[in-house]
Symmetry: C2
Subunit: 290 residues, 2 copies
C-alpha cells in the first residue's frame, strides 16, 4: 500500500500498550503523532517517554488529524465520552483496536461516517503508559471487520497503517472474528482459570487426611505454569472479554465441554487406544495454530 | 546428608532423559556409573556420549552396585523383565523415577527388600539417549513415598542421591503424591488437549458460513500456544499417566468440572462481579504454584 495514504498528523486516543507502541513506530517513520490521554499524569509521563509530539488531556488535540486510532479499553470504547466523539474530525478515518468487534462496529458505525473496525492482535502482559514498545505489531495479524457500509478508501487507510508497522493484514466478518477469538483467546482464559481453581478445590477436598494444598504448590512445574498463565492474568481484561463477547464465549464453552466429555469418557472406560488417538490428533493439530 | 552413603558403583537402568541426566551428574561427582539399556544401538550411543563408564544390554552389568535407579517408563517399570529383577543385588538400595507412585510401590515392595519409591520432578520435552543433560534436577523437587516397611537406611541413601544432584527432597504418602500430580500434572494434559480439540470442533461447527477453521489458525497467539502446550505433547506419556493414575485423574476431573461450571454459570448469568472475583482469586493463587 502507498505510504501516501497516511499523510497528515495521526491521532491516538490512549497511550497504553497498543497506543504507545503505535506511537513509537509511527514517529520512527516520520509521522506527526498527536495523542489524547485521560489523566494529566499519563500525559506528563508520555511526554517524558517521547511517545508523541503533542500529548494532551483535551480532545481538541485531535483537530487536523486525517487518521485517528481509538486505542481504548473495550468498555470505554463502547461508551465513549461525548466530547471525544465531538472532537473527531468528520473527514478523518477512525479505527479502533478492540478485541471484540460486533458491539464496537454496531456502536461506532452510527458515531462516525468513516469508522473502520479493526483489531491488531499483539499483546504482552504489560499495560499502561510504560508498556508501549517499538515493533510490537511486526508479523502479527491485524484484522479488520468491514461492514457493508464501511468506506473502501477508509479501509485502505487502515490497511496502510497496519502494513506500515509490519502487521499481517486480513479482513473477515465481525461475527467470524468474535467467534474465532472466543475459541482461541477468551475460552483459554476460562479453561486456564478453571484449572487453577480445580487444583485448589481438589486439594482442599482431600485435606485434612494429608497436606495436599501444600503438596500441589510444591510439585507444580512448568506444565502447570504454562497451562495456567492466561487464567492467572488481568481479571479486568478477562471480564471485559467475557462481557463483550458473551454469546460466542458461551458457544465456545459448549464445544469445550463436548471435547472434555469425550476425553473423560475414554478415561473412565479405560479406552486407552481411543485416548491415544485423541492425544495424537492434538499433537498433529497444535502446530497448525502456531 | 553424608556423601559417604553413595559409596560404590551406582547402577542406572535406562539412559533416557532422567537416567542420562543422573549419569552425567553422578560421574561429574566422581561416582562410578554402570548402566543397563535395552537396545544395542542405545548402548553404543550412550558410550559415545560418555554417559557411563560401563554400558551394557546384559543385566549382569548391575552386579556389585550398591544403589540402582530404575529410570524406566512407567509401563516397563510396572512389568519388569524377570532377568532385571533377578540381576538386582539383594543388598543394593533400589529406587525408581516413575511419575505415579501407588502402583509402583505396590509392585516393587514385593520384588525387592530395599526398594524406595521416588519421583524426581524434572523434565523437558526431550526423550531418549540424546536427552540427558547435566544439572537437570537442580532446585527441582524429588519426592519419595515411603511405605511402612520402607527401610530407613535405604530411604537415606536415596535422599543422599537426590541432594547430591541438587534436588529438593521431600516425602509424602504415595496416595497423596498421586492425587497431587493428578491435579497439577495429569489434569492439565486433558484440560489442554480439550482446548485444542474444542478450537477445532467449535470452528468446524460454524463452517461453512465462514472460514472459521482457517481464521482460528491465523489468529491463535501466545496465550493459545501456552495453554495448549502440554495437551499437544507426547501422546504415549499422556496415556501412561492417565492409565496408571486413572482414579486420581478422574477425581481431579470432578474438581475441574465444578470449577468450570461455576465460571460458566457466572458468564451465562452475566454475573460480572462474581466472575471478576473468581479471576482475582486466580491471579492471587497462581504465584503460590510457581
Amino acid at each position: 500500500m502507498p505510504v501516501g495514504r497516511l499523510q497528515g498528523p495521526i491521532g491516538l486516543v490512549g497511550l497504553g500498550l497498543i497506543g504507545g507502541s503505535l506511537a513509537l513506530d509511527l514517529q520512527r517513520q516520520g509521522h506527526g503523532v498527536r495523542a489524547l490521554v485521560h489523566r494529566p499524569a499519563t500525559a506528563e509521563r508520555a511526554r517524558q517517554r517521547g511517545l508523541a509530539q503533542v500529548v494532551d488531556t483535551d480532545a481538541s488535540v485531535l483537530a487536523g488529524c486525517r487518521l485517528v486510532v481509538l486505542a481504548l479499553p473495550l468498555d470505554r470504547l463502547l461508551q465513549p465520552p461525548a466530547e471525544l466523539v465531538a472532537a473527531l474530525p468528520p473527514q478523518a478515518v477512525v479505527t479502533d483496536v478492540g478485541s471484540v468487534k460486533v458491539p464496537v462496529l454496531e456502536r461506532w458505525r452510527r458515531l462516525h461516517p468513516r469508522f473502520v473496525a479493526s483489531h491488531p492482535m499483539a499483546g504482552t502482559a504489560d499495560a499502561g503508559v510504560e508498556a508501549g514498545r517499538a515493533d510490537l505489531f511486526r508479523g502479527r495479524p491485524w484484522v479488520a471487520t468491514p461492514a457493508v457500509d464501511t468506506e473502501p478508501e477508509a479501509l485502505a487507510v487502515v490497511r496502510a497503517l497496519a502494513e506500515s508497522v509490519g502487521a499481517c493484514w486480513l479482513t473477515c466478518a465481525a461475527e467470524a472474528h468474535d467467534r474465532a477469538v472466543a475459541l482461541i483467546s477468551h475460552l483459554p482464559v476460562l479453561v486456564s482459570a478453571g484449572l487453577l481453581l480445580a487444583a485448589e478445590r481438589g486439594a482442599a477436598a482431600a485435606a485434612p487426611t494429608c497436606d495436599l494444598p501444600q503438596l500441589v504448590r510444591l510439585l507444580a512445574s512448568s506444565g502447570f505454569a504454562d497451562t495456567t498463565r492466561v487464567g492467572g492474568g488481568n481479571p479486568e481484561l478477562g471480564v471485559l472479554m467475557a462481557r463483550c463477547n458473551r454469546e460466542a464465549v458461551a458457544e465456545a464453552l459448549v464445544a469445550y465441554r463436548a471435547s472434555l466429555d469425550d476425553l473423560e469418557r475414554r478415561l473412565l472406560a479405560s479406552d486407552w487406544d481411543g485416548l491415544q488417538a485423541e492425544l495424537e490428533r492434538c499433537r498433529r493439530l497444535r502446530p497448525e495454530f502456531l
